[in-house]
């Protein structure tokens, strides 16, 4: 693991082939003068034309780690290892996976196959551990409503991290831990957060002596209608483009805990 020293970074995850939102987020983060932009994995799934997002990530030298989806695509596995239990969720996940696998170039597959699962950075004096699901498991769900603070405290101690960054679940949140440590789910760019809003999110983390760690969730407005139209034109399920147009999740619902599920429409 490399260990660069910085004061301001941008992080996102779950691009899910939403190259239009990715393009906006990268430009926005650059404009804000961040030291580095990092992507915590899951480049494909759900959206159209997977190579377009990968082209952007690599063209802009975004630092990337490997999510479960990228491990699967990179190694050409049979499924995405998302951990769904509901047959309907698995049905839609498989459609998405097959589309993404066939649409990802051999060269991009090779690139994502070699990505690290975790990275560490120094943000000021703080040790920041970046992972996809959790520090201990790439596809572990850390939902806000099912992740106790004492569990996060233990992870932070075990992995010697002042800040743990993750994505995977698709909904951003943060929690202050013991000894001024912090856990942050940086959100995803690929689809909205099941709240009826069409924007997506990324996160800027800053360190200054005055306030120490500052976490800012940044909304990303993009041309969601064009993305949804492209998804329809590609023959992807209407359920997917409905989520992009409405901000409500229509699939992958069984993995949601009660609180997160109640906030949605379906």
């Amino acid at each position: 693991m490399t260990n660069k020293h910085m004061n301001r970074i941008a992080c996102f995850g779950g691009v899910y082939s939403n190259y239009l939102a990715l393009d906006v987020a990268i430009r926005d983060a650059r404009r804000r003068g961040v030291d580095e932009i990092l992507c915590l994995g899951d480049f494909g799934a759900f959206g159209p034309h997977p190579n377009r997002s990968l082209d952007l990530l690599r063209m802009h030298n975004i630092t990337c780690i490997q999510g479960n989806y990228d491990h699967s695509i990179g190694n050409e596995l049979d499924d995405c290892q998302c951990g769904y239990t509901d047959p309907r969720d698995n049905h839609f996940a498989q459609i998405s996976y097959d589309y993404t696998l066939s649409g990802t170039s051999v060269e991009h597959r090779g690139w994502m196959r070699e990505l690290p699962e975790q990275l560490r950075r120094k943000l000021g004096p703080l040790s920041v551990l970046m992972c996809h699901g959790s520090p201990r498991q790439v596809n572990e769900f850390l939902w806000e409503s099912t992740t106790p603070t004492h569990f996060l405290d233990k992870l932070a101690r075990d992995y010697q991290a002042d800040v743990i960054l993750s994505t995977h679940t698709g909904i951003r949140w943060q929690r202050e831990l013991a000894d001024r440590r912090r856990a942050v789910n940086v959100g995803v760019l690929g689809r909205p957060e099941n709240d009826g809003q069409t924007n997506v999110w990324y996160t800027i983390l800053s360190y200054s002596r005055d306030v120490e760690l500052q976490v800012e969730f940044v909304p990303v407005e993009y041309d969601f209608r064009s993305l949804a139209d492209e998804m329809d034109n590609e023959g992807l399920p209407k359920e997917f483009s409905e989520t992009i147009r409405t901000g409500w999740w229509t699939t992958c619902l069984e993995i949601l805990p009660a609180k997160e599920r109640r906030r949605g429409r379906y």
Binding site: N68, H71, L77, Q81, G83, Y84, T85, D86, P87, G133, R136, Q137, V138, N139, E140, F141, W143, E144, S145, T146, T147, P148, T149, H150, F151, D153, K154, L155, L253, E254, I255, L256, P257, A258, K259, E260, R261, R262, Y266
Partner: protein, 299 residues
């Protein structure tokens, strides 16, 4: 219950799920497939008190427990149940496995308020084993379908989204149709976005008499664990607190060898997969946890 020697053992990788046998083996129903023969008269395991649960919750903090599950018997026969869940929601997410037939509005209001004030989710898992009285009641008892559905409606009225849990007492070929009928039935009662969890039957306890027990060949061998995702086994990440000590998993509490110690700390050792039920756990994986905590290790 027959066991075998030289079974492969499972180390506790981390204590993610802490279970409580909060109503012991006491239940207002006597289901024909119950793997621990719970009934109104089976008091071989008794209730846990609020103070006992609180003591275990405190112990769980340093261990980094991620989720708390409450089962029985019927948990809501324990009159401390609502206060126990309220207390648990101060520590982390709570899930209670109920038959839905004895719920009271006063408890549900208390719990709805407690969940709203908590960071964490409260999940109700309601056992219903058929989509109609004709398919459910022969297993769970006369009138239980209607009573359980009233419980589901009551939970939905209080804003909960109960997970309907059904033991698979039908053939695999019928699975899609049965699940579809469950969904249709639940929507017709006003539960607009039903959540379902289908469980395999465990050939223990009453179910051993209803269908059959485990054959000697239905055991886990060391060879079977090569390349196997151990996180699918409950004993990889769980323990259960009872009024008679801490056991390896909720399924095996009637097996004397499954008692690991008096405290959680004493019960962190490995456990041999020597029981037939271990074979079902191996076959189906993650049979006791909620879908939101499902995850598979890297393949």
């Amino acid at each position: 219950m027959s066991v075998t020697c030289d079974s492969p053992s499972v180390e506790l990788s981390s204590l993610d799920h802490l279970w409580f046998q909060v109503a012991g083996t006491l239940c207002n129903l006597t289901c024909h497939h119950c793997f621990i023969r719970c009934s109104p008269k089976n008091d071989s395991f008794g209730y846990l008190t609020l103070s006992e649960v609180r003591r275990r919750l405190e112990e769980s903090v340093a261990l980094g427990v991620k989720e708390y599950y409450f089962t029985g018997g019927e948990p809501f026969l324990n009159h401390d149940m609502a206060p126990i869940l309220v207390e648990t929601l101060r520590y982390g997410p709570a899930t209670v496995l109920t038959n839905g037939t004895v719920l009271k509005d006063q408890w549900l209001q208390t719990l709805a308020d407690a969940e709203a004030a908590s960071l964490y989710s409260l999940e109700f898992r309601v056992s219903i084993d058929g989509f109609s009285p004709e398919t459910n009641d022969p297993i769970r008892g006369a009138g239980t379908f209607d009573r359980a559905i009233r419980g589901v409606k009551r939970l939905v009225d209080f804003g909960f989204l109960p997970i309907i849990t059904a033991a698979r007492t039908w053939s695999d070929d019928d699975e899609t149709a049965v699940v579809g009928q469950f969904v249709t039935m639940l929507k017709s009662t006003g539960y607009e976005r039903p959540r379902l969890k289908i469980l395999p039957t465990l050939h223990l306890g009453a179910e051993e008499e209803r269908s059959h027990g485990y054959r000697d060949s239905e055991r886990i061998t060391a060879e079977m664990l090569a390349y196997y995702d151990m996180s699918q086994l409950i004993c990889d990440h769980s323990r259960i607190v009872t009024d008679r000590g801490v056991y390896v998993c909720p399924i095996l509490i009637e097996s004397a060898d499954a008692r690991l110690g008096e405290t959680i700390g004493q019960s962190m050792g490995s456990y041999p997969l020597r029981h037939g039920a271990c074979y079902t756990c191996y076959q189906y994986g993650a049979i006791c946890s909620n879908p939101s905590s499902a995850a598979v290790h890297d393949k």
